[in-house]
Symmetry: C2
Subunit: 348 residues, 2 copies
Amino acid sequence: MEKQQGYRVAVVGATGAVGEKMLETLEKKDFPIESLTLLSSSRSAGKSITFKGEELIVKEATPESFEGIQIALFSAGGSVSKSLAHEAVKRGAVVIDNTSAFRMDKDVPLVVPEVNEADIANHQGIIANPNCSTIQMVAALKPIQDAFGMTRVIVSTYQAVSGAGTIASEELRQQSQAFLSGEELNPEILPVKGDEKHYPIAFNALPQIDTFQDNGYTFEEMKMINETKKILHSDALHVAATCVRLPFFTSHAESVYIEVENEDLQVSDVQQVLSQAEGIVLEDDPSNQQYPTPLSAAGRSEVFVGRVRKDPDNPKGFHLWVVSDNLLKGAAWNSVQIAESLIKNKLL
Amino acid sequence: MEKQQGYRVAVVGATGAVGEKMLETLEKKDFPIESLTLLSSSRSAGKSITFKGEELIVKEATPESFEGIQIALFSAGGSVSKSLAHEAVKRGAVVIDNTSAFRMDKDVPLVVPEVNEADIANHQGIIANPNCSTIQMVAALKPIQDAFGMTRVIVSTYQAVSGAGTIASEELRQQSQAFLSGEELNPEILPVKGDEKHYPIAFNALPQIDTFQDNGYTFEEMKMINETKKILHSDALHVAATCVRLPFFTSHAESVYIEVENEDLQVSDVQQVLSQAEGIVLEDDPSNQQYPTPLSAAGRSEVFVGRVRKDPDNPKGFHLWVVSDNLLKGAAWNSVQIAESLIKNKLL
């Protein structure tokens, strides 16, 4: 058998929470790699990381770092993407960007492969990976939209701290220990590292993810609203979101209300479509207390759906509970899927 | 000044999570008491509890325990209420019942004093205290319903473990410690003590509160749906609920979507009405990151509302974030308020 061609890959933000999962995923899925370049800010440069048994040194990302790179996976924050993604493209790389820097740009496809893989073909050097909370929701909703038509989405999220980075996970761990020991909590990171006020996350719930916009919504909520419409190719779809940070480490959960076009639709119809959808696992058997939870979804790359039920009053309304590992399908795994699609469709 | 008349009060379930808060509330609000009888199951009988500096012994609740009692506050579970509430009424007591045993009975007023105090006048011996998650929601929604008309409610809850009793709080504490120490979790209580399966609550989220009904909704969700319509006197109101148990000890939070009758209504109109409503504290200033959280509401008897905003697509839609201490306004404080109203309106 002919040896599969390998690619020259760079991971920007290799030492972060998503970067770590990106490397785990490339290794686990045996992604075809000819050379792997690990990049980061100057702060983390010099660290060593083991990949497939080989020790690699993380280098500071500069425009020149991308010479000869074919695929650049960015997850080092929006400002790094804004300053370096175009430099990578200029040098011939295709950038898969995990930040919000370019997601709403008209020229940048925003892609969840199970949902809108065809959009990748329109790329002009940059492909955006959607926000973690958006990815799992649209993955669950697309099969329903295709089968039955969908007019409306209202989501309330239950989001893990790892979405705010390794430092947020560390803060939850430290605060939880302090709380249980009766010690004082000293919040410094959450809800938003760069924002003015910080609140305890241990044994608490914070209805703020990312900064507030002028309209009273947080940026996280606006991401879910705008990205969902873009990925599902439907400006007419009504979408509203409330995003809440909670004291668990991994996986986002979502209570999703949707309205479909057909009032005769039954729970079993929705379950049937979800059970056959790519990348979706239906875990929905109330009589056996079966439903997904953040802990049960952690470490897995699928999107789990349970608690499918019809609205008690609106025959077009349905409720779902959607859970997925925010660092895998919500970030690393979706990015690697995009890279695999680029290769498969000869779009590099 | 004439000394205020005191009443002969019994607390049934005095050693439980709500019972404890009931006694704290009676003491703190200086409720007029001539005699206080503490009752429980045989299991907890014999324990001693200090009330206003005096040591009281908890006795086993029997029909005869209620001889001479004027006000009986029940919070020892539905089966205790079902077997003893009528015995108490037969002996002349008015029962304020904190369980779900009688809430939907036509003859039993279901009361949140700020919302439907007048219903107390129709009591026939038993007045029901609504479910904790219902109380805080209807307290926030009633002023909006009165001022603007309301047609629809969709709620996703974020509920504290103390709603499942002291044993559930203890389970969260033990599991959290075990998780942080890298030890195995052995769930035995949550989501529902008497149900077949148990899942870890530490650093997790469980989309099941109370047992599942045949329609796929949990009993907690059906309580929110049915009780809300009864308390707000509106069978036509559309109500849907998703109830989720989360790893914090105190206060329930709720992401509430409502539809009002008037599409010209603005966020400031809703805020204005809430800021003047009895028992409500508006904490809503996104520009200063001001919003309520479970920790900030714990130990306080009001209902806190923040994150008021208009739906991005539906001009009749609004979103709110409602938080309150589930053991105080959600249980003990609301029960004591009902008792105060009975006295004030000479309904004993």
